[in-house]
Amino acid sequence: MDPVTVPATLDSLQWIGRYVLDAAARAGLDRSRAYRLRLAVDEVATNIITHGAELGTASPTIGLSARLADDALTIALEDSGPAYDPMQLPKPEGLDRPLEERQLGGLGVYLAVSAVDRFEYERVDGCNRNLFSMVRPAAQ
């Protein structure tokens, strides 16, 4: 699949989701694992878009690519905003607390990192690169 660039706006999320699901289908991921991969990418993309908008430093675009190796599918999400490592964000607290007492922060990243087999963040050439990998089913 060719890499693509999309505007870093909320209306790109549906497009990003379709791209990831398409890559997942090509990789032979089952429905549940495809869903999880899509969720992870969506959560981090959402953070990139909303965080940049809040700070007024939004990277105007997000780069998206898929690498299909024999054993795994890796989706890369890139933006040129200030360094923003999802793993450094606060973890959600009180998942066992009543909803009325819940903190709002950290849920998205928690979902993203728990959903995929492997998540990595890199800062490369002034860009944030988020890598989401899912192991492919063994060849029949």
């Binding site: 549906q14 969720l39 959402t46 909303t50």
Partner: protein, 112 residues
Amino acid sequence: MGFSATMQVTEGVAKITLSGELDAEAAPAFKAEIEKAITQRPRRLALLLDQLEYVASAGLRVLIFAKQKLGGDVDIFVVGAQPAVAETLRLTGFDYAVVMLKEYDAAQIEAV
């Protein structure tokens, strides 16, 4: 795929039907229906999710908002969640805060 949310209140029970994909772009539309429901001061809230294909944390945040605004006396029922959506609710502990039902149970939801 898009998203839609429609709300109706019958005899104190607010029902919101969600369909499509509830991501961060769609979450304000869900929140708007929750706010409409709140003005009706319902005694119960039922979220009908059998047509909801996907939910992200932005959607879950609207649930937190709903619970906080409605208060502890108003039970929230989540009806017919698809497996992946139900799994997300369990993973994030939301299954403790709402009543999860496979089907609409009028006896339970509408009981006075």
